[in-house]
Symmetry: C2
Subunit: 608 residues, 2 copies
């Protein structure tokens, strides 16, 4: 039943040798890896205006120089990441780059930030997309959490089916969004050029603004930079590209950078020229679209594709999170279960974990995840800074051909990323302070996990472990609850293994019960020793444990091994289990926590 549903949802399992077929070409890669970055265009320009509006509409002209700053930052990041892709062709996430060049701690800071960040990406973008939908259909508003969770589950299933299949489905909406915005920007500029937009809607560039401060401009710049989250996704996901992976990845990165630059500056310019003010209930893009096309087909088309791409931006998290988790798990900083490929060759445990944690976030914030955005931006710019710095160290250390120009690019990238991170801490401290607590905590957990794995490895290695004691003989303990077929089977089994001692243990709650049972036993199994342990507190576990302890202590003296044989009913139907006290399960769990006691389960399959 369950496995049929699984097949239906994620498809038949794939052989390990089919891995090559699951790789992405550039078109598909651009779609699924840049949806996060491109979708930022839908809210990035607005973030700038929201800060500027606090000193008045005349300040809006500052959005133009701020946008130029963002474009410079974008260029620096794209060029830097291009260099990272070529230097780390097997997937150079910020984690790998920082760890290799700066050391383990910077690596873990990058890795930890990004791990949390991808969860935020999914939660924030799906919530934003759901908001766009519920704004259009207010009756759905009370179901926001449910709708967002269903979207997360849908994207999770798509990703479990495999990266190429999800790319095929997700590519259309991404390209539709790009086309829609190109049309919007094109028509908008045409209208401005032909003079059908009055030129007095905006203050001209250079107009003096009362109350403007450097702090405010920095805050606006930091807010605008949140549009750049997601540009690191491609460098993480190089292993998903078709051969030659680094070249394909680098071209995809350039294409993404170009698209992002055009769309971002187009929207900022139109917003400035139209003199658009940010409103609570209508987004900036929506206002531009309405003024350009009126409430006609194109307006709704733009609104629809925007909602869609916001939801699909989550997919970038799904591409990057599992690969980052694999890298961390290979280095033993997180559970090794994340390195296992699932039926469809994706790292399914990472995918499921990401979906699960995002839903937890969505539920705990009741789908109102907007104020997580600054946190999320910080979580991106910290690893940006560290990986660029790592590259600087790399160039200085190895000095390959043309290293000076490479050094310059990465230095600019590092400097700007660092500045933006600091701006977030300075201008939005009340929203990002939790990073200071969570990041050290996560790193502490990473170290604890690694310590555990290393100590386990040490204990298991044949060369270093304690020498195994030879087993001189075996004692079998059989807890019995009655004179039944199951007990008979267990006794036969113990006998066939030529155990040196077989002890049956009966635990009565009442004294009368005890004598009757002893009598019956003597008649039925005269050659098997029976021990009765009266239990005044009506518990089977405690007297049995005490008895096993005693036997084990004695057995150990002469290098004997104690085995406890527990019969286990296997009912024909699953629901029957609730009709049987799960005593054997409890006994087994408790016994396994004792030293040197082996637990043997004799299943008894009920036929009816």
């Amino acid at each position: 039943m369950l496995s049929t549903i699984k097949r239906l949802l994620i498809g038949r399992p794939l052989k390990s040798t089919a891995l090559g077929e699951q790789k992405l070409n550039k078109t598909k890669a651009l779609a699924i890896l840049s949806s996060d970055a491109l979708s930022s265009v839908a809210y990035g320009p607005e973030q700038i205006l929201i800060v500027l509006v606090t000193v008045g509409a005349t300040a809006f002209w500052y959005s133009i120089p701020i946008a130029i700053g963002v474009l410079i930052l974008l260029t620096a990041l794209i060029l830097s990441y291009r260099q990272i892709i070529h230097a780390y062709p097997h997937g150079g996430g910020a984690y790998v780059v920082s760890k290799e060049n700066l050391g383990v701690l910077p690596g873990l800071i990058s890795g930890g930030s990004l791990l949390v960040d991808y969860i935020l990406t999914v939660a924030v973008s799906v919530s934003a997309g759901t908001d766009a939908i519920t704004s259009a259909f207010p009756s759905l508003h009370e179901h926001t959490v449910l709708i967002a969770s269903v979207f997360v589950i849908f994207i999770t299933i798509l990703n479990l089916r495999g990266v190429t299949e999800s790319a095929s489905i997700l590519a259309y909406p991404v390209y539709l969004f790009v086309v829609a915005l190109f049309v919007l920007i094109g028509v908008g500029i045409y209208k401005i050029a032909t003079g059908s937009i009055p030129p007095d809607l905006h203050a001209s560039i250079g107009t003096p603004v009362a109350g403007i401060s450097l702090f405010l401009l920095l805050k606006a710049f930091a807010s605008g930079s949140s549009a750049l989250t997601g540009v690191e996704a491609i460098s993480n996901a190089i292993p998903n590209f078709k051969h030659p992976a680094p070249i394909n990845a680098s071209r995809t990165l350039l294409a993404m950078g170009g698209l992002l630059a055009v769309l971002f500056s187009g929207i900022v310019y139109l917003a400035y020229y139209y003199g658009i003010s940010p409103k609570v209930e209508v987004t900036v893009v929506s206002q531009i679209a309405e003024q350009t096309f009126g409430r006609h087909f194109m307006y709704f088309f733009i609104q629809g594709t925007t909602a869609l791409i916001l939801i699909l931006a989550a997919n970038t998290g799904y591409s990057a999170f599992p690969l980052l988790a694999v890298n961390l798990a290979k280095d033993k900083f997180i559970p090794r279960i994340f390195t296992a490929r699932g039926d469809r060759l994706g790292y399914s445990n990472g995918i499921i974990m990401l979906g699960f944690l995002s839903i937890v976030l969505i539920i705990s914030f009741h789908g109102r995840t907007e104020h997580l955005i600054p946190l999320y931006a910080v979580g991106v710019f910290i690893p940006f800074t560290l990986s660029q710095t790592g590259m600087i160290v790399k160039w200085v250390r190895h000095k390959p051909a043309g290293w000076v120009s490479k050094l310059v690019i990465n230095s600019i990238g590092a400097l700007i990323s660092f500045t933006v991170s600091m701006m977030f801490f300075i201008t939005k401290f009340e929203q990002v302070w939790s990073v200071i607590i969570f990041l050290p905590l996560i790193i502490f957990i990473f170290h604890r996990i690694k310590k555990h794995y290393e100590s386990v490895g040490e204990q298991l290695r044949l060369s270093t472990c304690e020498p195994t004691m030879p087993i001189e003989g075996n004692v079998f303990i059989l807890p019995v609850s009655g004179l039944t077929h199951v007990v008979e089977t267990s006794i036969n089994y113990a006998k066939s293994l030529s155990a040196q001692q077989i002890i049956a243990v009966y635990i009565p709650f009442e004294r009368e019960d005890e004598t009757i049972f002893v009598e019956k036993w003597k008649k039925w199994q005269p050659d098997i020793r029976l021990v009765t342990l009266h239990s005044p507190y009506r518990t089977i576990i405690q007297p049995l444990m005490k008895f096993v302890d005693t036997v084990e202590r004695k057995a150990r003296e002469s290098n004997y091994q104690v085995t406890v044989v527990i019969p286990q009913f296997i009912p024909k139907k699953g629901w029957h289990n609730i009709l049987h006290n799960q005593t054997s399960l409890m006994i087994r769990t408790r016994l396994l926590y004792r030293k040197n006691v082996i637990v043997t389960t004799v299943p008894y399959h009920l036929k009816k």
Copy 2:
């Protein structure tokens, strides 16, 4: 840790021999077994007025004859149950009485109704009490579900501590409530007698009322009868009484009947004389209290004790449900886990189950359980009818001394109970129809459970089961994942048991891996046969299962027994478990579902 918390909450375990000390005297028994019945006074009279108000305030005088009807019903029930107590001194719940005299099906109808009913009792009364509190403190209103759930948990813990301890704590509020209502009724009647209440507030008895109908009066009567739910509790709980149990129980029953009659008629009379109309936001008792005392101390005292007794009414369910469950479980109609006494000698599984299911009900109805009241009343009057009918059959069959008068009493009880049940079906069908679906379903489940237990007993009995095959030899299968200390221990164990065959199984995902491992193995354990099973789909379970199947089929031919030896890591700290893929657990679970394969778990205790 967990066991310390358990001790703190429910106290140290008690020996089975301490059972006698846990019995109730009459004062405590009256308090904890009649809280349900007595609390009905807080809403029973109101229910009558709510029906009558639909034809106008002049109809309120009908509440007097209706109350007389209810008192007659009460008298009949008290006398009938007194007879049941003496006839069934070991606890004569409706289930036992109906089953013994009428047959299994009527018994199960009674038992099933009551089982569900006690859950409804808890949910409805705790919700009602919580409502009383949130009416007083409206800011708590949004936390209704949480508050109600906390109350249920509190009462559950009290009952897990044991019946006498909960009685000691719960007795005070019950007696305070009784005293408060006595004062209210006394002062009220004094004021009427001294003429300080104007006599023109009510229509005099016999005033003709337009629109009154027999149907309406029956409906009002049925609603008023809901005040009688809970009178059967004492007859279920005879085993909880001090010696001589039946006599003490019977006296407690009479005392309860007397109190109930006085309080019920007092409230109905005051409501009638004061001309009180039922209101949505203020209860009838609250209106009477306000008119009698003004908003002074006594008013708030009455409100407080009413809220308290409504919550404590739940406790009646806790006294009766576990005992009924024991009776049903002894007859194998519900899981036998309900027959086990917990640490404090209460039937703790029944108590926990009742608490859990009540919370489920409270959550699913968002704490708005008022419209479950009719359902709950029907669930009481069906077993009332059946047990009285059972008693009729008993008297006719055995004809003891004075049986005719006993027969008359039970016949009246049966007739009135039957009439009330029918009234509920006729006048409130839209609220009680679900009984017709749920009751047959519950009885079907009861039968399925009994059938399963009987078939298991049949299969286990030595006289009837298939003869056990002798075991001629043993094959041990050892799944191995590397050359480690754990594998060494398992091999030593298998060798020490002189197994005829030991097969190590290795399951590589990659071909290269396979050859390397085989080479290493040959050097390390040359005398143990190694089988490798290449798994292209990266799963360990499936190839292993197939292999075990093959070996087992072959082994069975020569009466050999197959044992699979699985090493299990036991980390030092609980949280470490998530760092290890729980493969051994999965393998064990899957293997146990196969025939004739015994599973041996070799624990490997990590020391760090």
